[in-house]
């Protein structure tokens, strides 16, 4: 409450000072605003916003090369895309990633975060486990490693001949896996790729959830414990509802990331994998633009990707709202 009133006051203060200042537009003030706002905004508009807008226009042209000839074709590119089996397959693969990656990553990181924060003794003060700091530091490692390197390392681990995974499997007597191509077999390529992405992000979301859980007042947990709630019950009925907004944010971020997935997928299987089983939209877009020079068509793919991204975010917000989110969150 105090914070809210403070904000209102300071906000009011800003309005008042701004009004007072507006009377005398000095050189100092004008140059300040021009440079401070104008310069960043100009760069941003030229290199971020204008490409977004241009892409929408290009998507309706059959621009196919380096000349400036851009015949306007309306929605023909979109029709073409929806009749293109390989593109539709890439859409399907991207959607599969967007459906499974956030669920798996969020659940796994929630479990790990819960173990670290309330895995400690059930007597006395609520506390985390011993060695929690160690687990936190280790878990965050993959997040700071460049995605390209993660892809290369795992590509080598999955390597059929000299990879670590088949080495371990044959080492424990599963000889059937000798020379098994994890990324070269359509049955496992997608699952193996998804595993790599999950590996890269669980630690980050774990840290995020740990921070959120630590933000819950200890009295809340104590009250639950006095009422006889066990650890599992506490996690389901107290922790998850209270960090619901954080879960939603994590879910949306991870979904947006899954719909991109370009780096991981193109490093793990640069050609789209066996029978295109790991080909995603971003890869298809990239090769359409920079290998085939079909810029109009590539921009149409970009628009479809952006639309799916927005629909995904909207769906997550909607589901969270419908199932009673933000109502029980006392933030």
């Amino acid at each position: 409450m105090t914070q809210v009133t403070n904000e209102v006051q300071s906000g009011g203060g800003v309005v008042a000072t701004a009004r007072r200042r507006r009377k005398k537009l000095t050189f100092d003030k004008i140059s300040f605003m021009a440079v401070f706002l104008g310069l960043p905004l100009a760069i941003y508009l030229v290199f971020v916003i204008s490409p977004f807008v241009q892409a929408v226009y290009y998507s309706m042209t059959s621009w196919g090369g380096y000349d400036n000839n851009m015949p306007f074709v309306g929605l023909a590119n979109y029709v073409k895309l929806f009749q293109d089996d390989i593109f539709m397959l890439s859409v399907r693969n991207s959607v599969v990633l967007a459906v499974f990656l956030p669920v798996i990553t969020v659940i796994l990181s929630l479990i790990l975060a819960t173990l670290v924060t309330i895995g400690g003794s059930s007597r006395g003060q609520i506390k985390g486990m011993k060695g929690a700091g160690f687990y936190r530091v280790i878990s965050f490692f993959p997040y700071v490693i460049p995605a390209v390197v993660i892809g290369i390392i795992w590509q080598q681990i999955f390597n059929p001949d000299n990879g670590l995974l088949n080495g371990i499997l044959t080492g424990i007597g599963l000889n059937g896996f000798e020379n098994y191509p994890w990324l070269g077999d359509a049955r496992t390529a997608m699952i193996a790729s998804m595993f790599v992405i999950v590996w890269g992000f669980v630690g980050f979301y774990m840290i995020l959830f740990i921070a959120a859980i630590k933000g819950i007042p200890a009295e809340t947990f104590e009250a639950a414990r006095i009422d006889g709630a066990g650890r599992f019950r506490t996690a389901i009925s107290i922790t998850i509802p209270l960090i619901r907004d954080n879960i939603q944010t994590a879910y949306v971020y991870m979904g947006i990331l899954a719909l991109d997935a370009f780096v991981y997928m193109s490093v793990l299987n640069s050609t789209g994998g066996p029978e295109n089983s790991t080909l995603v939209m971003s890869q298809k877009l990239f090769s359409t633009a920079f290998t085939k020079n079909q810029f109009g068509l590539a921009c149409a793919m970009g628009v479809v990707l952006a639309a799916i991204t927005l629909i995904f975010s909207a769906l997550v917000f909607l589901v969270n709202r419908l199932t009673g989110g933000s109502k029980d969150v006392s933030e």
């Binding site: 916003i49 007597r123 997040y143 970009g302």
Partner: protein
């Protein structure tokens, strides 16, 4: 940062009544430790394996993935650094990320400061425009971006890459620092102005130093993001001499036939990872702190 340390300390070494752990507690703690240890191993083993393989001959890697290197092949690192060009890409990356980071921090702080502390028509619209840049996928922009750079003659150049890095890191920077500047007390800026400081001086000598903790967190995240950036350079920086590390190592891995030196590839991976790992270990506390600050909003 100081206050953070001070407030955190008591919780570490406060005296606590000794409570006996029940059997259930021991089971739960045991199971938790087993699960967390498994996860930690899953993280560490691939990295350890990479490190170990980076010192092996290719034939050794093929023969037995586990054994320690028979004799340590330090020349793998020499080969990666020189033959594979990782040394040059490293230098390029330092230049691009260094310049982009400084520029985006300055511009982002200025923009966030104006948006957070001045009321003027259109400020809300600019803020929403920044949010849009965070939401839409870079892929939508990539083709027009290519031609914008081509038209102004910055395609395949390091300055071109720097300015695009700046532009795409800007919305995150502004968004994060916006809330930071908003929270700073306005009385101090007013006091500075009463004392005769102009807008410029107020910002650089009073407000910017006060925002240091926020700037540090954003700078670390931007450093990681830019150092790891892959899509933008492979699209708009295709001149081999100007490659940055991420695309350099991907190209090196891509041209790997079976006859090439795998040890050097692992060495290259280690060379790329070490700078970010050092940054992480140095700023580990701050990084995790800013993740939590992000969630408090």
């Amino acid at each position: 940062m100081m206050t953070l340390k001070v407030t955190k300390k008591p919780s570490h070494d406060h005296v606590e009544r000794k409570a006996l752990d029940s059997n259930g507690d021991k089971t739960v703690a045991g199971v938790s430790h087993v699960m967390l240890s498994l996860w930690a191993l899953l993280v560490l083993i691939p990295l350890a394996w990479t490190l170990m393989s980076s010192f092996k001959k290719t034939s050794e890697i093929f023969a037995s993935p586990f054994s320690l290197p028979a004799d340590w092949q330090f020349q793998n690192y020499v080969e990666a650094w020189q033959t594979a060009g990782i040394g040059k890409y490293f230098f390029n990356t330092v230049i691009v990320v260094g310049f982009a980071l400084v520029i985006v921090m300055v511009l982002g702080a200025m923009c966030a400061y104006v948006l957070a502390r001045y009321v003027f028509p259109g400020s809300r619209a600019i803020y929403i425009l920044m949010l849009a840049g965070l939401t839409f996928p870079v892929f939508l922009a990539i083709v027009p971006l290519f031609f914008i750079l081509k038209n102004i003659g910055l395609l395949n150049t390091l300055p071109g890459l720097i300015i695009v890095y700046v532009a795409f890191a800007l919305p995150f920077t502004v968004f994060f620092l916006f809330s930071f500047f908003k929270a700073l007390p306005s009385e101090i800026a007013e006091a500075a102005q009463i004392d005769g400081a102009g807008e410029w001086r107020t910002f650089f000598q009073v407000m910017l130093p006060m925002a240091k903790p926020g700037l540090a967190s954003v700078a670390i995240f931007n450093f990681l993001g830019l150092w790891n950036q892959y899509l933008i350079p492979v699209a708009i920086n295709t001149n081999r001499d100007n490659y940055v590390l991420s695309q350099g190592i991907a190209a090196y891995a891509g041209q790997m036939g079976y006859a090439v030196n795998f040890g050097a590839l692992f060495a290259a991976a280690i060379i790329v990872v070490v700078p970010v790992l050092i940054m992480y270990i140095l700023f580990q506390r701050q990084l995790q702190g800013s993740v939590s600050a992000g969630t408090m909003k």
